[in-house]
């Protein structure tokens, strides 16, 4: 199978799983509550539909009256939940048409897209940078086998993955924002009191933006590098026991050359696989970070929306998150396929 064909097939499979994830979501949030209230999902029973109830509840204001009909039309609320509304929901998810927010009355997709860069700056950093930190630490530890550095890396990675990322942020806020502020009147990192606005004008805004983001970056490195350092170190250790390394040593290569030219190319595919399958976890972590630090990304927006029972925003949040996760998995799938020919050859017995 050629690489391009593999990529197309994987893309198709990603699309199918994405759609089925939307179906599961729809069943859990729309059909299940309606059925719990005694509705038949195959008949048009809109008064038991949680979305319709949310819309009607927030439309007592006469100014909102026209907007109920707009939203009803977008979501097809007069039709049965299954299958009509489900199909409409999936179609809307692909066109990013989620109607209007119940609180701000603005288009949900524009609000979400406005906040998406904020989420992405956090999320991409949290996925990518800790991998490199962990990778270099693991290689350093592997070079210093059995010595203090090795021990320290193992120990610190244990600490790193015992502490959830948002707890790290709380700890950083306490020791590097609160204590310096109280003791010496300076902030090293900012407390999450005044979040940056969603419109950036000028250098000052960008500097504040970076300063506000810095504790989150530090926390995500501290919390996520441990998994990688530990995993990479143990996989390197495991590879160093293989026969091919013995051969390489017998040829007279130094330990460092064995590591660099024999072991490391060999461990890249499993590393990529592990990274790929940690993406949903890391995405969850970056969501938690946003909420704890009031960072104005999509998760914080959705967090406020959930408290207001703003169902269109909740739907949009889920769809966008699933898209991000699927896209990340797809990208890492392609990277794996490029790095490891066995995957795209579909060799029997080789599973991810």
């Amino acid at each position: 199978m050629s690489l391009s064909r593999y990529i197309v097939i994987r893309g198709f499979m990603t699309l199918v799983t994405f759609i089925s994830a939307l179906v599961v979501f729809f069943l859990l949030t729309r059909v299940l509550p309606a059925v719990a209230l005694g509705a038949n999902p195959f008949l048009p029973t809109q008064y038991l539909d949680p979305l319709f109830r949310a819309i009607v509840r927030s439309s007592d204001d006469p100014g909102y009256a026209s907007w109920v009909s707009t939203l009803s039309a977008t979501y097809g609320l007069s039709r049965p939940l299954l299958p009509d509304q489900l199909v409409i929901f999936i179609k809307n998810s692909f066109t990013l048409d989620f109607g209007y927010s119940l609180t701000s009355m603005r288009s949900v997709s524009s609000e979400i897209l406005m906040r998406l860069p904020y989420t992405l700056t956090l999320y991409i950093f949290a996925v990518v940078i800790p991998v490199f930190v962990g990778y270099y630490l693991a290689v350093a530890a592997a070079r210093a086998r059995g010595r203090v550095l090795d021990f320290l890396v193992t120990l610190s990675s244990l600490a790193s993955f015992s502490v959830p990322v948002w707890v790290f942020v709380l700890i950083i806020y306490y020791f590097f924002a609160y204590i310096p502020k109280v003791s010496w009147g300076v902030y090293i990192f900012p407390l999450p009191v005044k979040a940056p606005t969603t419109s950036i004008t000028g250098v000052h805004d960008i500097r504040y933006w970076i300063w506000y983001l810095s504790p989150l970056y530090v926390a995500s490195i501290l919390s996520f590098y441990g998994v990688w350092a530990y995993f990479f170190r143990s996989i390197i250790a495991s590879e160093l026991g293989e026969e091919y390394t013995v051969t390489a040593r017998a040829k007279g290569l130094s330990e460092w050359s064995v590591l660099r030219s024999e072991v490391i190319p060999n461990i890249r595919p499993p590393i990529m696989t592990k990274v790929a399958y940690s993406v949903p976890t890391i995405f969850g972590g970056s969501i938690a970070l946003e909420i704890v630090s009031s960072w104005p990304g999509i998760a914080y927006y959705a967090y406020q929306a959930i408290q207001n029972n703003d169902v269109p925003v909740m739907n949009a949040f889920f769809v966008i998150s699933t898209m991000l996760v699927s896209l990340s998995l797809y990208i890492s799938d392609m990277l794996i396929a490029i790095l490891d020919p066995r995957v795209r050859q579909g060799i029997a017995g080789y599973t991810r």
């Binding site: 799983t17 089925s20 806020y173 959930i306």
Partner: protein, 492 residues
């Protein structure tokens, strides 16, 4: 990490990590059991065990010796002050008194004093039960004052206005064992005000309203004597039908709230953080282990069936379901579905199981696939064993180590998700978990008040509990992967 043959693990070979982790987990299990046995269940809301944001006792001991701890003192030794004419004592013992006042007028009954042994405290609670009864209609007024013998101090009055202006014939409770918060809820004093001289410029102020009784007004100091004084005045409404009034002091308890309390201090409501902490340990144990066990059960059964029938239709369907579930972003799903289905622990449990099984199921599938290729399975098929029999006799036992490893490695994830959901306020509001503690600490100003003990109690719990399981998981992973262990032995 598919083991070709899992050797029987000797206890010694499991290594230091395993035992450190195990002892942490057992420690929290013991704490949880203790909280259950000590009858703490449901008493999460008990308030005012000490003053708000009281420090842990060991901190007070090291940095501020002499900081008060909570004193609960039942007043005793009641006696009538002044003229004892027209008074009949019906019954009398150490903590209570029942007397009849025969003529209208004013009477004063005082208790014996007790010595206050600490530095000044901030607030106190007085619980009292005083009953009044009369044969005829009378108008009466009772004051209960708590008085200190400090020369600068003035007395404070707890029950200022009469409770009932009129009583007709019968028996009435004045206020039956009501809890009266002396200071904290109503008027706060900044801790920077130095006791015992805070009141000098406050004497001109209007009278302190009912129930506002800062201990600072008592000017309590080490060695001050504190006592209770009950002042009762009554007049008859109808002079022709005028009789005595019976006053029954059942008990008066003074609780001077400490500024140092317990192993972990108190929170904003004066409730003991240590108690919340061990309650949280119970919830974490119960929730973490049950959710992880359910997940393991689902993941192993789906993974083994799918791996055993690899390539068949059932495998394809199960793999597709696993992949789909893997695609669901866990946290958004939990946040939204708890909003839609209600914020209960059961929903959270179901959702956490739903999102956490796919990873382990993949692993179980690849294990089952490897086991399926082995010669003894072929032999079993050749002699005509049914698939179910092979699954039960050969595959499931070989998956047992994976199940244990999965259980151990799933608990940290389950706990961190649960704690996070509680922390952002989407969890069950009735469950005293560490996440809820952290939520309260963060939102009710532990950071701003510098109450690090409140913030760090749940953080300590979460991280050490997770570290325990992570350690066990690491140790088991090394055992399950002989190649890794062997090379690591060579590594050293």
């Amino acid at each position: 990490m598919i083991p070709l043959a899992v050797e029987r693990a000797s206890w010694r070979s499991l290594g230091v990590k395993f035992y450190v982790g195990l002892s942490i987990v057992l420690f929290y299990a013991a704490l949880g059991t203790y909280s259950m046995l000590a009858g703490y269940m449901g008493s999460f809301e008990s308030m005012w065990e000490a003053d708000y944001l009281a420090k842990p006792i060991w901190v007070a001991y090291i940095f501020e010796p002499g900081l008060p701890t909570t004193i609960i003192k039942r007043l005793e030794g009641y006696h009538v002050e002044g003229s004892k004419e027209y008074i009949t004592i019906n019954s009398y013992d150490r903590y209570s008194m029942n007397i009849t006042l025969e003529r209208p007028g004013s009477y004063v009954i005082a208790s014996a004093g007790f010595e206050y042994p600490y530095k000044p405290a901030r607030s106190m609670i007085v619980e009292y039960s005083i009953w009044v009864s009369s044969q005829y209609s009378v108008r009466y007024r009772i004051n209960l004052s708590i008085v200190s013998d400090n020369l600068l101090g003035k007395f404070i009055t707890l029950e200022y206005g009469g409770v009932r202006d009129n009583i007709t014939a019968g028996r009435y409770a004045v206020l039956l064992a009501e809890e009266t918060i002396a200071s904290a809820g109503f008027k706060r004093y900044d801790s920077s005000i130095k006791l015992p001289y805070p009141t000098l410029n406050r004497i001109q102020e209007p009278p302190i309203p009912v129930l506002v009784n800062p201990v600072s007004d008592l000017l309590l100091d080490r060695g001050t004597k504190v006592r209770g004084i009950i002042n009762i005045t009554y007049t008859c409404i109808d002079q022709s039908r005028c009789g005595g009034i019976t006053l029954e002091i059942r008990s008066i308890t003074v609780k001077i709230l400490g500024l140092a309390h317990g192993l972990m201090g108190t929170d904003q409501k004066g409730s003991d953080i240590w108690r919340q902490f061990i309650e949280g340990a119970r919830v974490a144990n119960f929730f973490g282990l049950t959710a992880a066990a359910t997940t393991v059960l689902i993941a192993i059964s789906i993974g083994s069936i799918s791996g055993f029938r690899v390539g068949r239709f059932s495998d394809q369907v199960l793999t597709f379901i696993t992949d789909t579930m893997f695609f669901l972003p866990a946290l958004p799903l939990i946040m939204i579905v708890t909003a839609a289905l209600g914020r209960s622990m059961l929903v959270l449990y179901g959702l956490i199981v739903l999102v956490s099984w796919p990873g382990l199921a993949r692993l179980a599938r690849s294990w089952a696939m490897a086991i399926r290729g082995e010669p003894y399975i072929e032999a079993a098929i050749a002699v005509g064993a049914s698939r179910l029999w092979i699954l039960r006799k050969h595959v499931i036992p070989r998956l047992a180590p994976l199940a244990i490893y999965g259980l151990v490695s799933l608990v940290p994830g389950v706990i961190s998700t649960e704690v996070l959901i509680q922390f952002i306020g989407f969890g069950d509001p009735n469950i005293p978990s560490w996440g809820r503690m952290l939520n309260e600490a963060y939102n009710e100003g532990a950071l701003i008040n510098g109450a690090w003990w409140w913030l760090f109690a749940p953080i300590t719990g979460i991280t050490s509990y997770m570290a325990g399981f992570v350690l066990i998981g690491m140790a088991l992973e090394e055992r399950l992967n002989p190649k890794l262990t062997a090379s690591q032995r060579r590594f050293k």
